[in-house]
């Protein structure tokens, strides 16, 4: 039974799965792991506030509860609705991005928010899902041979380039990087030749000095320089990185214990409730805690792979693995960033970092992955309709 009764142009037949079947098909283990990770996030936010639910943990808890309902709701939708509305969703989000560009709410020197009064929406976050949806929709309808031609790739490249350029202009280097990576993953999965990636990488390398001189903001340049040598200016730009290392390292193997982290409670650690929250957790729970958290993410990722492989429809495969790869790169870039392996680009840790839109984006993403899982056996025609249509 479908919640949406849809008409033209892509008519769906009545769903083959009952409400009960769908509910049963949801992987509750997956949702349990998501809950575990989010719980670690809430506990850590509690610790970051020196043992207080306010100002972060309580809000995060409410958002997570809402997000949990959202996962289940999305999981029980018909996957074909998503393929049908993927372009609409994409263009709507693109419009929001343009709107933000024009009237956006200024936060931390970057225009990222739409203030609806009761909630602030960050369209660039939504775009992470919309882009994967649109690309999955596009490549669902192409053949491998077509994917190997440049002509076919023109439209998806435009689909990627538009939001990336808009996000870069905000400026939000982190999101632009994430969008590019998840798009690349989809391109990679649909069989675009590896040498083409090589050419793009080469072009990027060549254009780097140009970007450095004309497009990067001073603070972005500073971040890159700081990444290369944090000790150069230990009290200035390098301070974050050094304190982040101290926080992590001083946690040692077993950690200092819950609420015992000195680096965060005494405010030596910057951005401790957002980008650097992993170090807070690792300071209190040590490498053991850090590894456990990574293991939980890995479990979700392995699950994502399983779902993608198990799924019948190519759209579902692409969507599940695209979003799962997205999750992986979020975790990787965030942790690598606080460990000083990559520059600080402002990528939050999924489900742990404080932030409403990011939480919602990930919950929608998990919902969609579950939706793919629930609809794993459904076949979808090349045009996006039922095969027998």
């Amino acid at each position: 039974m479908s919640v949406f009764s849809v008409t033209n142009p892509l008519r769906l037949r009545k769903s083959e799965l009952s409400f009960k079947d769908r509910f049963k098909n949801i992987s509750w283990l997956y949702i349990f792991i998501v809950t575990l990770i989010a719980s670690i996030g809430i506990i850590t936010l509690y610790s970051v506030a020196n043992g207080s639910m306010d100002p972060w943990a309580s809000k995060q808890l409410i958002r997570f509860a809402f997000g949990l309902a959202l996962i289940v709701f999305i999981a029980m939708t018909d996957l074909r609705i998503w393929i049908r509305y993927s372009y609409i969703f994409y263009f709507f989000t693109l419009l929001l991005l343009i709107y933000v560009e024009l009237f956006g709410h200024d936060a931390m020197g970057a225009q990222r928010w739409i203030n609806l009064g009761f909630i602030q929406i960050q369209p660039s976050e939504l775009m992470k899902i919309a882009l994967v949806l649109a690309l999955a929709r596009f490549f669902h309808g192409t053949s491998l041979q077509e994917n190997e031609t440049f002509k076919t790739l023109l439209i998806p490249i435009i689909l990627v380039a538009l939001p990336v350029l808009l996000v870069l202009k905000q400026p939000d280097l982190g999101t632009a990087v994430m969008l590019t990576i998840s798009a690349s993953v989809v391109f990679f999965l649909v069989g675009v030749q590896i040498w083409k990636f090589g050419i793009v990488a080469l072009l990027a390398l060549i254009s780097m000095p140009i970007a450095w001189n004309f497009f990067l903001h001073d603070y972005q340049k500073q971040r890159v320089l700081t990444f290369l040598d944090p000790q150069k200016d230990p009290l200035g730009a390098g301070y974050h990185i050094i304190q982040s290392h101290i926080t992590l390292g001083s946690g040692s193997i077993f950690g200092k214990g819950f609420l015992q982290g000195t680096q965060s409670s005494l405010n030596f650690l910057p951005e401790k409730h957002t980008d650097f929250i992993f170090t807070v957790f690792a300071e209190e729970f040590g490498m053991i805690g850090g590894l456990l958290l990574l293991a939980l993410y890995i479990a979700l990722i392995i699950f994502g792979f399983y779902i993608a492989l198990r799924c019948t429809s190519f759209f579902g495969k692409l969507l599940a693995l695209g979003l799962t790869a997205n999750l992986f790169f979020y975790v990787f870039i965030n942790v690598a960033m606080v460990m000083g392996i990559v520059p600080v680009v402002g990528v939050p840790l999924p489900l742990i970092s404080y932030g409403g839109t990011a939480m919602m984006t990930h919950m929608i993403s998990f919902g969609l992955i579950q939706c793919v899982f629930v609809n794993k056996d459904i076949q979808i025609g090349r045009s996006g309709a039922n095969p027998d249509n």
């Binding site: 491998l144 030596f268 990787f332």
Partner: protein, 612 residues
């Protein structure tokens, strides 16, 4: 569907590659985590601790200094400071200072200083606006506290010298630590910490300083204190008891009036110094509260040199006060006996050079005791010529001249005892007999400090006990060794010194001390600081009053009392004061008399106590 199958196969292949890439990236993360949290953990644990923990040094109270009867000479006073904490002020910093300015006067430079400091320091760090407030000012600030948010009173300790003027050269003073004095003791690096600069304060700086306590506190990233982890109060500085009697010290300094000079009064048996005066003095407190440039210039450029401790670092020709040493050398070598008479005709010739007695008409025939009493120069020229410089020098050195006395304050000079060998070494010229003769009356190259002369007299008085001078009260003094000298010869010299004061012919007869106090023996000295030309001698000697101050003679006096059972030795020099008998002896007499009276009282009190 074949095309879709290809797509599916490609997807599988690419998904596998993707999984491989992700696995590889994960491996990097885990190994980096291992590196930071296991291999480098110790380093980062230490860095986290040093982030978190801040040590605050607690200065211990400086040891107090007392005189021999417990009168405080150096204490720590409560110092009230006004501080401003910029984050707590209600309006602007200037407004806060304006309202404070209604209670205590603030200069534009105070405003500048505070504004500069506030900018430099974090908003919760107090900045000192004014120090050393009077109790009244402090109270009125406290009273107006509600209208003065961000302004508070801080109590600290500041060194205070109740007898700052009288004890400046003995107790010394403390001052800010300069870069060169930093030794590694963290106390010295505390802002506002004071270190002993001169006198006892410098000599015993370490025991007086004590050792610093600390507070180990947890701080946040702004350096604000979160909680105290550990506290150690440290060890307060040790109390120091001096041998000084502040009553005598004060009285002695007063005797100098506007004169420049030095005085030492000491116990002949144990080396206790009861008074050590260098005149003029200065108020030691000004160095602690901050001395203005003008004040400093005035002190530093004064020709009477108030900053120099003349008692231990003034090197003067001993003049006639040296004649006892010459007499002892002569007696010991056997060139004279106590009855050897020499004729004084007012002058004598050596080659083409004529030597004058201070009395132009001469003393006639006199023996050693008479020669000491009237201080005949011809007698001692003759005796010195007969003894020779090296025997005189040997005797002088036996009494401790030419070397430091190792008194327990810094700045002591050693004086000079010339010998033939010395002159050859320094001037590459042979010693002249005329120089021996001049040394016989304590002139030419020989110099001594007032402390050394007091020591010589103390050793004559105590029968040759080689005591050491000291300012720190000691519970126990080693029985000193004796100088190798015949008691008989000492008694002859002592008789001469007795006659100086108690024979009507004696040079210091008018400064004698009455018999009920036991009387005093002594020796006057007057030393020239300029050469008297032949022309001047032929016409008329200029009187001292006709000369510029710095060309006038130095007046000296040394002595001991009581005569029969000596207790104290005294040495006085009045720079450019004129005659030893007329200027130095009366000062010595007054001080000695007072010392004897106080001593008698002390003995009486003790006896009364024993009776009770």
């Amino acid at each position: 569907m074949n095309r879709d199958g290809d797509k599916g196969k490609m997807f599988m292949k690419r998904a596998a590659i993707l999984a491989g890439v992700q696995f590889f990236l994960l491996l990097i993360l885990v190994s980096r985590m291992y590196y930071l949290q296991v291999i480098q953990a110790d380093k980062y644990i230490m860095m986290a601790e040093s982030n978190r923990i801040s040590m605050r040094i607690l200065p211990p109270p400086r040891g107090i200094i007392l005189d021999r009867f417990g009168e405080p000479l150096a204490v720590n006073n409560q110092n009230f400071r006004v501080q401003i904490i910029s984050e707590q002020t209600s309006g602007s910093l200037v407004d806060a200072l304006d309202s404070l300015g209604k209670i205590i006067p603030l200069s534009p430079s105070d405003y500048e200083y505070v504004q500069k400091e506030v900018k430099r320091k974090r908003a919760f760090v107090p900045v000192t606006v004014a120090e050393n407030l009077t109790w009244e000012k402090m109270a009125s600030i406290q009273l107006n506290a509600p209208e003065l948010p961000g302004i508070n009173i801080d109590e600290g300790l500041t060194r205070y010298y109740p007898y700052g003027y009288e004890t400046a050269h003995v107790v010394g003073y403390v001052g800010p630590v300069n870069e060169k004095e930093i030794t590694g003791d963290p106390l010295l690096e505390l802002p506002g910490f004071r270190k002993g600069k001169t006198g006892i304060e410098a000599q015993y700086d370490l025991p007086l300083r004590g050792s610093g306590g600390f507070r180990k506190i947890e701080v946040n990233v702004l350096g604000r204190e979160i909680r105290e982890l550990e506290k150690n109060k440290g060890i307060p500085g040790a109390q120091i008891d001096l041998t000084l009697d502040i009553r005598l010290q004060k009285y002695a300094l007063e005797q100098f009036k506007k004169n420049s000079g030095a005085l030492i009064l000491m116990d002949v048996d144990n080396g206790d110094i009861l008074a050590l005066v260098s005149a003029p003095s200065f108020d030691a407190n000004i160095f602690n509260t901050g001395i203005s440039n003008d004040e400093w210039q005035k002190l530093a450029s004064d020709i009477r040199k108030p900053l120099v401790n003349k008692a231990i670092s003034g090197e003067y020709s001993p003049g006639s006060t040296f004649k006892m040493i010459v007499a002892l050398a002569a007696l010991e070598s056997g060139v004279i006996s106590s009855s050897t008479e020499i004729y004084c005709g007012g002058h004598m010739e050596l080659g083409s050079h004529r030597f004058h007695c201070w009395k132009p008409e001469g003393h006639g025939y006199l023996n050693l005791i008479e020669a000491l009493a009237v201080s005949c120069d011809i007698y001692f020229y003759e005796v010195a010529r007969k003894v020779g410089i090296d025997k005189i020098a040997d005797m002088a050195k036996r009494f401790g001249l030419g070397v430091k006395q190792e008194i327990d304050i810094p700045g002591e000079k050693s004086g000079l005892v010339p010998t033939q060998e010395w002159k050859k070494r320094v001037f590459h010229e042979p010693w002249q007999q005329g120089e021996t003769m001049l040394t016989g009356i304590g002139q030419s190259y020989i110099t001594t400090t007032p402390l050394q002369m007091a020591m010589v007299i103390a050793k004559i008085a105590n029968g040759g006990k080689n005591i050491k001078p000291h300012l720190i009260k000691k519970a126990y003094v080693d029985e000193p060794k004796n100088i190798k000298i015949s008691k008989h010869f000492l008694n002859i010299v002592k008789q001469g010194m007795n006659d100086v004061m108690n024979d009507p012919q004696g040079t210091a007869f008018y400064s004698r001390i009455p018999n009920q106090l036991g009387g005093m023996s002594g020796k006057t000295g007057t030393t020239q600081v300029r050469r008297i030309s032949m022309k001047e001698r032929e016409s008329r000697l200029l009187t001292q009053e006709e000369l510029a101050w710095e060309e006038r003679n130095h007046a000296l006096f040394v002595g001991y009392a009581p005569i029969n059972n000596p207790k104290y030795a005294i040495a006085v020099i009045v720079e450019h004061g004129g005659g030893g008998a007329s200027v130095a002896a009366p000062i010595a007499k007054n001080v000695m008399e007072k010392a004897l009276i106080l001593y008698q009282e002390e003995v009486k009190n003790k006896q009364n106590k024993i009776k009770e």
